[in-house]
């Protein structure tokens, strides 16, 4: 699977045990990284602001912020789904939030983000699924693959929780597999 399309966006999803992997990945992204990056991590709904944004900001060189409704999408920026809302990408180049029911007990849901991004970006999209203990992300990754995009998962053998990467691998047998370091290298060379 060699991608010839110019990658415009990266979507990432993670749950239990994914924060350390995420830090490893975002730390490696150069300030000149071009694709837009969207991130959904399962966090408890009680937080008023997603503290993950502050944690990641201290580790990354690219612009980062909590995703806002109808915010225009910029290249080289990392958008983090707020807690208790789904994050969706619109084909018109803006973000949308929704308070639809949780999916697989999660809001934000990785599937919801990935499916909307697959529609918006088609083959110009990469999906990354990290450690987690649910099967969220599997459907969405399949949608990315079906639309011609690429999928990579954190190695289930070394991930803190293997359920999520395994579920994605089941749905997308052709997906790449690697450690957080290898995922970072892959993204840097898109």
């Amino acid at each position: 699977m060699t991608t010839t399309a110019h990658i415009k966006a990266v979507v990432m999803g993670g749950s239990a045990g994914s924060i350390a992997s995420l830090i490893t990945i975002v730390r490696e992204l150069p300030a000149a990284f071009e694709p837009s990056v969207f991130l959904t991590v399962h966090v408890p709904p009680s937080e008023k602001r997603n503290v993950l944004v502050d944690v990641l900001r201290s580790h990354c060189d690219i612009a980062i912020g909590e995703a806002e409704d109808k915010q225009p999408i910029q290249p080289g920026t990392l958008y983090v789904a707020p807690s208790d809302y789904h994050l969706l990408v619109e084909s018109s180049g803006v973000l949308s939030l929704s308070s639809d029911e949780p999916v697989l007990f999660s809001r934000p849901s990785i599937d919801v983000l990935f499916e909307s991004a697959a529609d918006a970006y088609g083959e110009a999209l990469v999906g990354i699924v990290l450690s987690g203990a649910s099967s969220d992300g599997a459907h969405g990754s399949r949608a990315i693959q079906d639309a011609g995009g690429a999928v990579m998962v954190e190695d289930p053998l070394s991930a803190y929780a293997s359920v999520m990467p395994l579920a994605t691998l089941n749905a997308c047998p052709g997906a790449r597999v690697g450690s957080p370091g290898q995922i970072a290298t892959y993204l840097k060379h898109l």
Partner: protein, 274 residues
């Protein structure tokens, strides 16, 4: 990039909903509406959206299901307690100065937001001079709102929210329980009109002191958000208040100039005195 045929089918479905049934979802946020429609198509067992369109036009049982599925009904009493606390602390003192008040809850769903405000206004001694207008486009939701009956398993969350909002009474003062349900006190409904009103197709119907419209605008595209905010600005008295959902703001709107940030962080705005 998206399947062009599916795109066209969705456009036709939304056009049919508008022309045949006068429900206008054409300017809703595309990604959300597409997701809802796909789920519904699977549930109803249609092969594709063209088959669903045929069902919508020729099988009377389909339309109500489409409407109830496209209008997302997720709500809570005192949802985001800090919003209600901010209303209490910063907006209520201002509202006290008026001899009579009109409050509009736009997109009231099954009534949770209305009962929260009715209780808050009673606690603050404003209820007797207030008229509430609670509107929605989902007929089932409006019925549930005028019944004011909720499953008992939701009451615990409502009670916690109420306390965190600075509630001066106990939520249990306002409902009675039976058969796993909590029925809210009918006198809370003495000063409310529930009615079918669409933010897309209907017009201004009164001069409001406060409009609370939470988690509705996120379902609209930018142009429809702007149009709705204009409707709100036209519906408010001079220096009237507008409260939005905790992840909704005027930041990306062309209407932001008509409002002042009144309680920063709680999405409470005041109409500018132009």
């Amino acid at each position: 990039m998206t399947d062009k045929i599916e795109e066209l089918e969705i456009t036709l479905l939304l056009e049919a909903l508008y022309q045949r049934f006068h429900y206008d979802f054409r300017s809703y946020s595309k990604a959300s509406i597409k997701r809802r429609l796909r789920q519904l198509r699977e549930r109803l067992g249609y092969r594709n959206f063209s088959a669903m369109l045929e069902g919508l036009l020729h099988d009377a049982a389909i339309f109500p299901q489409v409407i109830s599925y496209l209008t997302v009904q997720v709500s809570e009493m005192f949802r985001d307690p800090s919003y209600f606390r901010a209303l209490r602390e910063h907006v209520v003192p201002h509202l006290r100065t008026y001899p009579s008040l009109k409050v509009w809850i736009a997109g009231c769903s099954s009534g949770e937001e209305f009962y929260s405000l009715a209780i808050l206004f009673r606690e603050e001694g404003l209820e007797q001079k207030t008229m509430f207008y609670a509107t929605d486009i989902n007929p089932g939701a409006l019925e549930a709102a005028s019944a004011g009956v909720y499953n008992l398993d939701r009451i615990r969350g409502f009670t916690e929210n109420h306390q965190q909002s600075g509630g001066r009474s106990s939520l249990s003062d306002y409902y009675t329980t039976a058969y796993g349900k909590a029925s809210f006190d009918r006198t809370l409904r003495d000063r409310v009109v529930f009615s079918d009103h669409s933010l897309v197709t209907d017009a201004v119907f009164g001069e409001m002191h406060l409009i609370s419209c939470r988690n509705v605008l996120i379902y609209f595209d930018s142009a429809l958000q702007d149009r709705t905010l204009k409707l709100f600005s036209d519906s408010l008295i001079r220096k009237g208040f507008l409260g939005l959902g905790s992840k909704e703001s005027l930041r990306f709107s062309s209407e932001s100039g008509s409002f002042l940030d009144y309680v920063q962080g709680e999405r409470i705005y005041q109409k500018r005195d132009l």
